[in-house]
Every structure is written in C-alpha cells, then in structure tokens.
Symmetry: C2
Subunit: 413 residues, 2 copies
C-alpha cells in the first residue's frame, strides 16, 4: 500500500491556536486524518493528492477484494451474490465478477447494468419479491433463471412469464438485533411459504429453495440459527409432498464497521455455517449469501467539507456543524440516526458534541440531533472531514437534484 502524502503536516504540527495563519490552514487541508490512512493508505493518498470540489466518495477496490475473500473463507461453500443495490459502480461489479462472484439484482435496471459488464445471466438472481410482470419477462428473455417471490400474486406472474425458472420463497425472519431491521415488507410465514412452493412446483416452476434475511447490519451471527430451524422444518414438510428443495439463500446482513467496532467476518461466517451444518449435516445444498453493505461499506470513505459552524443563540449549546453533504446527497442512512458513521477531521481540539446537518433548506436534513456528534471545538468553515464506512448505500440513495445540489460523486481506486 502507498503511504499517504502528508504535505507540510510533519513539519508544521497541527495547532489549536486560534491565530493559526491561513497559510497553515491550507497546508493542513492537504493532509488527511490519520484514521483515514489507518483504514486505507490508498484512500488517504487519493484524498491528499486530488483536488476535489464538493463531497465525493472514493472506494478502495483492493479492500473490496480483501473483504470478498474474507467472506468467501468465512462462509466457505456458499456462493457470494453481491447485492448491487449497495453500490452499483461498474468497477466494483467488474472486480466481483473477476473474483468469480454472482449478482443479486433488485430491478431490470440493475440486471441490464450487470449484463452490460459481460456477466452471464446464469450468475444473476432477480432477488426483489416485488416485480412488474414485464420486468420478469424481460429478465427471463435475457436468460435470467433465478427469481425470488413471497406471495401468490408474484408466483402467478413467474409461472406465466418465467416458465420453468428456479424460484425461491422468502420467509419472514426475526431480526431484533439488526441496526437496520427489515420489518414485514418482505417474506411470508413459513406455513404460507410451504403452500406457495408446492404451488410453484404444480405450476411447472422449479421449486428451488428458500431465502430469509436476518436484517441489515446484523451484528449477531446467531440470528441465523432460528431462521435455519424454520427452514429445516419447511424442507421436511415439502419433502413429504414430493417437493425437494435444494437451496438456502442466507441473505445479507453481514455488518460493516461504522462507529461501533469491527466484526471479524471470518469468525462470523464460521458461526453461521456451523448453524447450517447443525441443521442440515452433510446434505448437499446450494448455499447463497447476499452481502451488500458487508462487502463494500468499509471500503469507501466520503470526503466532505464544513460549510458553517453556528449557534442559534449566545447561550445555546450544542453547536451546529453544517456539511456540504447530508441526508439528501449521500447520507440517507442517517435517517432516524440508524447508522452512525465514524467522522474524522485533521483538527486536534477537544471533541465537543455538535448537531450535524446537511446543506439543504430542508429541516429534515439534520443527521445527529438526538445524539449529537463529538467534533473538535477548533473545527472551522472550509475544513475537510472524512466520513468512514460509506461505500454502501450512499451514492444511489442521493436525490437527483434536491435544492439544486448534484448527486454524490464517486470514484473507485
């Protein structure tokens, strides 16, 4: 890895002095917080040497690859279907394809994108349980043969427009311990899944398997165990009906670092796979995992800028720190303060809680108000900040032009 360029920072130490000259501030700006280089020397070098106007995400492809290999080792025997909704940058798709990965797509738009990179349709899963029939037909015509469903209405569409395709039914899984729980929007009861898979078989579809999702950013690998018990019972019931399922899609949920500590994904995967063996022993089953956040979040860092530091009243606390990025141009997942990113600066002053807000005229564009974010007291207008763990669910969430602001820019290095 390349060492980051540290500009004049080694010669002129960062100072808390209020009288710091403009020249020194400019030199400091050339530098990058040490935490960034601790994550990725390549990203630190990039931010230290590129002139970037406006907020920008940079993703380290080497980190994506390393993470892919860790997941492959941890979940040995499972096929990795990258949930491209997390970050559909073509460089990431190409890297995953080169590593032998598969792709979980949410729409025909995503399928078109993956196919445009020369990926075979046999490596694509149309994983959204809510699809227009026209999209199912188009995907089928393109050669996609793997589809998810969780309702009778969707099954009927699949039988009509993807005849003979392999289908898997998503069941509801408990996910209390996830930071970003998935509610009841997706999945049906285990009982209904059984009925629907028998119906799938009757309709001439290949009743291939079952999927579940324990919740995004799921920090407890044991969360899989309960759902796997349900899956085992469901398979037994279906076998008695002459329908032999052959696949379990373990979904995503593998956590990123954010501000509450790194998870050892090797160990994490081992715990999940042990739970699989516990239920299914040595039975030959196709296993799928669908990491999105778990694969790319930690490989990305956003560089943003302080636009304003203010108080609402002389006696008021805390300060308000406004960035040129907010909920509508990249940090949507701060909604309800669900995801708390690690934010770094080059200032070394005492860290004091601040309300963090975005640059739009929208009052909802406030990120950490309930739990203000500790930021250095000497943080100033024009200072760069680095928001870690932002490789997933940032670029595509960006609004197209809210308040006349462009969507989040992004590069892969």
């Amino acid at each position: 890895m390349l060492e980051p360029k540290r500009g004049a920072i080694a010669a002129v130490p960062c100072s808390d002095n209020q009288n710091t000259s403009i020249q020194l501030v400019e030199l400091e700006q050339e530098s990058v917080a040490r935490a960034v280089s601790d994550v990725s020397g390549r990203l630190a070098h990039y931010f230290a040497t590129e002139v970037i106007d406006g907020p920008q995400l940079a993703v380290d492809l080497e980190m994506v690859e390393a993470r892919y290999n860790t997941l492959a080792a941890g979940f040995r025997g499972a096929d990795i279907f990258y949930a491209i909704k997390a970050n559909p940058s073509v460089e990431i798709l190409d890297r995953v394809a080169a590593l032998g990965g598969y792709f979980d797509c949410a729409s025909m738009g995503e399928i078109d994108l993956v196919l445009s990179r020369g990926v075979s349709p046999s490596r694509i899963s149309f994983g959204n349980t809510i699809k227009k029939e026209s999209a199912i037909r188009k995907a089928f015509d393109c050669g996609v043969r793997l589809f998810s469903f969780d309702s009778e209405g969707e099954l009927e569409k699949l039988a009509r427009s993807a005849p003979g395709a392999s289908v898997f039914c998503r069941i509801l899984a408990e996910n209390d311990s996830a930071d970003w729980p998935l509610s009841r929007k997706f999945g049906c009861s285990v009982k209904m899944a059984g009925d629907l898979l028998i119906e799938a078989d009757r309709l001439g579809l290949d009743a291939y398997g079952v999927s579940f999702h324990v919740g995004s950013q799921q920090k407890n690998p044991r969360a899989w165990r309960e759902a796997l018990t349900d899956v085992a019972k469901l398979m037994q019931r279906l076998a008695l009906s002459g329908v032999g399922l052959r696949m379990i899609n373990l979904g995503g949920g593998m956590p990123a670092r954010y501000d509450n500590g790194e998870t050892d994904l090797l160990e994490y995967g081992a715990v999940v796979m042990a739970a699989v063996r516990e239920q299914f022993g040595d039975r030959t089953l196709d296993l799928i995992i669908e990491p999105g956040r778990g694969l790319v979040a930690d490989a990305g860092i956003i560089q943003a800028e302080v636009v304003l530091v203010s108080k609402k009243d002389d006696s008021d606390a805390p300060r308000w720190v406004y960035l040129d990025i907010g909920k509508f141009n990249g940090l949507a997942e701060t909604m309800d303060e669900a995801i708390r990113y690690q934010i770094e600066t080059i200032r070394s002053g005492e860290a004091v809680p601040a309300v963090l807000a975005g640059p739009t005229c929208d009052s909802v564009d406030v990120m950490y108000e309930k739990n203000p974010y500790p930021l250095p007291l000497d943080l100033k207008v024009g200072d760069k900040v680095w928001i870690l763990g932002t490789g997933a669910y940032t670029t595509t969430y960006s609004s197209v032009a809210f308040n006349g602001l462009p969507p989040l820019a992004s590069v892969c290095i």
Copy 2:
C-alpha cells in the same frame, strides 16, 4: 377545460364482479378516477390519453397560474418569491416569471437554472442560510444582491464575498401546528438577530430585513402573529441603533390540500396580512412570501401502478399493496407518515386498510404502515392509481438510481 376521455367506461359501468373480463379491465385502465377530473380536467385528459410507462408526475400549469393569482390576491402587497426547491421544472419557472414572480433559490445550481430562463438576477433571493463562500461569490458575480443568513460565520462570508449586498436575518419561529415542522436547523434567536444585523451594517452590508418560517404545510394562518410581534420589537431595537430595516420575509408554509381538506388561500393570506398591519400599520415595508408547496403541490398528480397485492400469512391483516413508486423515487415526504396523500383508483370495491409500500428492496420503503391506507378491496396488480397533491417535493427528492430504478419522470401540461 377539456373533458377527460372516459373510454368505454360510460357504456360498460365499473363492476365489482370478480369475473370482469380482461378486456373490460383494459378499458377501465383507459379511464381515470373521477377525483382526478374533479381536480383538473386537463390532467384527467392527459392521463386518459397518454401511454405512460412507470410512475410519472404531471403538473397542470393553468392550476399553478390560478394558485399564483390567489396567493397574490390573498397576500396583496407582498412579492411572491417562488421557492423553486419545491419543483424546479423549467415550465413552472417560465410561468412564474411570466406572471411577474420572483425566485427563492437554495443553491448556485438553482440560481444558474433560473438565470438560464432569462430571469434578471434582481429577481432572485439566495435564501439558504448555509452557503459555501464560493457560491456566495459566484452568485454576487452573477448580479444576485439579496442573501439570507442566521449566523456570524455566514455574515462574515457575505461581507467578504458579497460586499454591499442586501441581507436579511432569519429568526427562529415557533411552528408547532405545521405538518412538516422546521426545527432549529434554521434561524437564530431574536436577540442574536439584532446583534448580527447591527454587525451587518457595520461590515458595509445593507441590513435589509428579517425572515422567519412558520413551518411547511402550516394550516393555521395565525401562526404568523407571534413571529411578527418578535419582528416588530426587533425593528424598534435596531432603529434605536440607527439600523432601519425595510423588509419582512414572511417565508412559506402556505398549505396544500393533501388528504385533510382544502384551505382558502385568499382568506388565509388576508389573515396573515391583517397580522402584518396590526403590527406595522401603514409603515412602508417590502414584504416577501416564499411559497413552494403552496404554489405547486395541488397542481400535480402522479400516476403510478399497483405491482403486487399480498398477505404475509393467510390469517394476516392488513393487505400489503406495493406500488411502482415509493419513498425513494418520489414520495420521500411520506417519511414518518408526515404527508398523507390522497390516493385515487378506478375501483369501487369496499375500501379496506392496506399497508402501502414502494418497489425497492429497502424495508424503509414503506409508506403508510402505522396508519394503513384505505384502498378498494378489488384493487389488482396492474391497476393505475393517482396520487394527488404531488406537484411539490417529489421529483427532486427522487434518488438518482436506488435499486436501479430511474428518478420520477415529470411533465408539465
């Protein structure tokens, strides 16, 4: 107004019969819910005659013009600065410009857009209190001379980069009765505003006035009264310091219809203007209002489509109805169920509560779960639905490509 084309619907009445033929259903699809034609015959005609693929917003420019004239009459004597963040479609900008309107812009991107329509910079207010200094300088270089601020940091930028410009300070206003309250992100205390306006004058800026915002979708016109009392006291204090303010920016907040009843904006404006006279009598003051939602929301209707109707379990209630539009491609303001849109269909079956959700693989993309939305029991996959009052804060909030879905399409007629 044109009468909507009703296809074969007049000859073959809408039926609750489960055996309705596919042919009849197709004919029904050509029709449009009566509620749409009640709002705008022009929009009903548009939806009845155009083949639209995917969700789309259509805005009736005649309705925008009518609303502009109502606001101008209700708030007689105030200049209308259209808050273009609500909907920056160039056809709307052109119509507002033709009516003699002004423009409230949130960013240099919005200013560039307005200038590109041939509008004079003298008709533009840079109304965001959070601006990069580079944007202030660029706007000033383009001829913009009206800027907002609410903090010392912003004032310093303005003094440096927009010397001599007219500035107004935003004060905090109470807004408990608004559906979309504006929190403390914008505005400072009245005391601080006084200090800052004196400072503005000292720095060579034109301390022009004061602004406040009573909260978006503010249904109580009396909400202005309290803030106006504060403004009057502030003006008195400043006059004693030799700083004579000449402008009050009354902000926006004028409500749209949504699902809880229309507001008579003529009467509403009269109540606000009476409160102004109560405080300031016949004093010559420039008055500004900044309607966004109040000008364009009711003039727009989104046509969307039912993608799936499902249950999670045989015993489960309520149904889930999935549309091809959700929080991430147009209906962001359903966040926390803040805005409850009026949704119309051509079905006449009994209306039974349904959880309404969008088409993405994101569990957050659920719109009305706490308070399910009554929809006809005979609503079916492929049915068109019309979402009323969606002319504001829909298109630009759209994510750029979340889940591979395109941003909300839009036309003006």
